[in-house]
């Protein structure tokens, strides 16, 4: 079933530590007051401008395999293929924090406010990731991260973990997220920029665990799989 969802900007507001991590500030750092003030200003700017919304649609494993194959440009072996084998339910999703945030970021750079612009950019990126977490909870039917019998939902996205970014074409064709204002350009880049897309995979926690030892892993600067794996182990 296909659903359109919306949240308030406050509901999608990311944690301060996550924003600072994206700015390269470690969690244990002694935060100078000027950076703290910058962070608060960026969070306030996000609350003023964000319009978080999403579209989500359930899909069978067989249907998804066709979408995942996409343009045939995925890596020869990917973790998602293994994950899919143990999946109980799947849903495609596209979510965005809207275009006004991006406009504000560009405006800040244009007005010689690069520190605030870059901080707001990190807030918006972290917020877009948070939308995937909110969607996962909604898909699972609980507000927490784990469902009954240890079922977990995690999001996987084109452009990561061997799923070629051209996979966006099939995903967008299947879900048609135009109604929330998200489109693809010729490079498979989503507009508004601060958007996320992919597949939500529900299944036992164990199916989501994988070692980051694929040929494409050394080139990956994201490395978020490590934190995800750790969270699966500790919860």
């Amino acid at each position: 079933m296909r659903q359109r969802l919306a949240w308030t900007a406050a509901e999608s507001l990311p944690g301060r530590l996550e924003v600072l991590r994206l700015q390269g500030v470690p969690a244990e750092a002694d935060l100078p007051p000027r950076i703290g003030a910058l962070l608060e200003a960026a969070l306030a700017a996000y609350l003023e401008t964000a319009e978080p919304r999403a579209v989500i649609g359930g899909i069978s494993r067989e249907e998804f395999r066709g979408i995942y194959h996409g343009e045939g440009r995925n890596a020869p072996e990917t973790p998602l293929e293994t994950v899919l084998a143990g999946a109980e339910r799947l849903a495609l999703f596209v979510a965005t924090v809207g275009n006004a945030v991006t406009t504000r970021i560009r405006d800040l750079f244009g007005r010689n406010e690069p520190a605030l612009g870059a901080m707001l950019d990190s807030v918006a990126s972290a917020a877009a990731d948070r939308l995937a977490v909110l969607l996962s909870a909604r898909f699972l039917g609980t507000e927490g991260g784990a469902g009954a019998n240890g079922t977990r939902v995690l999001a996987y996205s084109p452009g990561y973990c061997g799923w070629h970014v051209s996979g966006q074409l099939a995903l967008f064709a299947a879900l048609d997220p135009g109604e929330i204002g998200v489109t693809l350009n010729s490079s498979c880049l989503m507009e508004p920029l601060k958007s996320v897309s992919g597949v939500l995979v529900a299944g036992p926690a164990g199916i989501h665990r994988f070692a980051p030892a694929y040929p494409f892993c050394p080139e990956c600067r994201d490395q978020s799989c490590r934190a995800r794996n750790a969270a699966l182990t500790t919860s």
Partner: protein, 213 residues
């Protein structure tokens, strides 16, 4: 304290609001604009850049200092132009065609300006030909290309090929950067350098210019 040292120290301390005022004061005290630029603004930003490379300060600290640097530069630019003072080098910069991500490119532009380079920022979604046209038109010796998508990285090769096709190899050098871009990719397409991050990009551009780009 010497006014120029005070400008540098203000940048280092992140007192960006004070910098423009100090530059004005230095001009009133008849300091040469070039001295203010090199011994005040660039000296301060060099320390900030070094602290950032050593991870003693963070990206927001650098950008707060850059705000002060830009405010000071705005006052100096017309005077430097009047005196015909050359910059550290002229760079054409942009995110390649199909890529709308510009934060990384903006950070590189800010750091380059802070190091005294004259940066012509073409923005995002820039076709290959426009980079090379701009470099020729404005006499730039380095073209900086940013891409955040694997699907847009081939445009970098188009730029390198076009530089070669127009006989500009050696005179115009190409540096590439962005999350999916690696040193190996730079070598594969024949680019002259790869910038791992904004601070590294400045070092690499300096080296390219010093080598006679």
């Amino acid at each position: 304290m010497d006014i120029l040292k005070e400008i540098a120290a203000s940048l280092e301390r992140g007192e960006d609001d004070r910098v423009a005022g100090l530059v004005r004061q230095a001009l009133e005290e008849r300091c040469a604009p070039l001295d203010i630029l090199h011994r005040g603004l660039i000296a301060g930003m060099d320390v900030v850049g070094e602290q950032f490379r050593k991870r003693e300060i963070f990206l927001p600290d650098v950008l707060i200092a850059a705000r002060g640097m830009n405010a000071g530069l705005d006052l100096l630019k017309p005077l430097l132009a009047q005196e015909g003072v050359p910059s550290a080098g002229r760079i054409v910069l942009g995110s390649v065609h199909g890529d709308l991500h510009d934060i990384g490119k903006n950070l590189v532009a800010i750091m380059l300006k802070g190091a005294g380079f004259d940066v012509l920022d073409l923005g995002a979604d820039v076709p290959a030909q426009r980079f090379v046209d701009a470099a020729q038109e404005h006499g730039a010796t380095v073209i900086g290309l940013s891409a955040l998508l694997t699907t847009t990285m081939p445009v970098m090769k188009e730029v390198v090929d076009l530089v070669r096709a127009r006989g500009l190899t050696g005179r115009v050098k190409v540096i590439v950067g962005g999350a999916p871009v690696s040193e190996a990719w730079a070598r594969e397409i024949g680019a002259d350098a790869h910038g791992y991050d904004a601070a590294n990009a400045v070092e690499r551009v300096r080296a390219l210019v010093a080598a006679g780009a």
